[in-house]
Amino acid sequence: MSLDVLYFAWLRERVGHGRERVETSAATVRDLVAELSARSDGHAAAFSDLAGLRVALDQDLAEFDAPLAGVREVAFFPPMTGG
């Protein structure tokens, strides 16, 4: 399947861009992270500690074990600091 993968804040800076189109057969977010981490040193650095990261599937917060079936947009970012 084809996914839009988005990065925000320091993840975006480490990866080097804010959005990429990814072809993948990953079943879960965690599987996708493993594939993305192999793309570049920047990706590997961005995903080095999942405990400090958040993920949204089609703009809803999700867990790293969530399935990707039917998902079109995956976003990775650090904990939010709004308000």
Binding site: R12, M80, T81
Partner: protein, 145 residues
């Protein structure tokens, strides 16, 4: 219920006045403004957000507030982009027949906006830019609701 996500400044006083004006159904109005604080040589704040998800997340938080408390009005404005020291980052306003509901809803909105709305703050200070780390106490604040 009104949610606005924008790069432009807003007039906190004018928004407070308009929000409270002409209400005969609510005895209590609570407003909150978050301002850029001049901490340790900070010169500006840059706020990144996730277009689309931001509006969606804030709307869901505001809907939850109106479900939990007896509100007659609820407003959230949140800026993104570059802000100078002293500028208003965001505001919330709630109106309710009784003050307990207006206060609780405003605090709920703030706690959730802090940790569940997709904004990320970067401080531009004397030592260069630095991403603001989420605070454990902000995450912990959610457990009270």
């Amino acid at each position: 219920m009104e949610v606005r996500v924008q790069p432009d400044p807003f007039d906190f006083g004018a928004e407070c006045g308009a929000f409270a004006a002409g209400r005969s159904d609510a005895g209590a109005v609570v407003t909150f403004a978050g301002l850029v604080r001049a901490d340790g040589g900070l010169s500006a704040l840059e706020i990144e957000h996730y277009p689309g998800m931001t509006e969606r997340a804030i709307t869901a938080i505001a809907q939850e507030a109106t479900r939990r408390w007896d509100l007659r009005g609820c407003l959230v404005i949140h800026r993104h982009g570059r802000l100078a020291v002293g500028e208003a980052i965001m505001m919330v306003a709630t109106a309710a027949p009784h003050r307990a509901d207006a206060f609780a809803a405003a605090e709920f909105l703030m706690d959730y906006l802090k940790s569940r709305a997709p904004f990320w703050k970067k401080e531009i200070g004397a030592d260069g830019p630095r991403w603001v780390a989420a605070r454990a106490e902000d995450e912990a604040a959610l457990t009270r609701w």
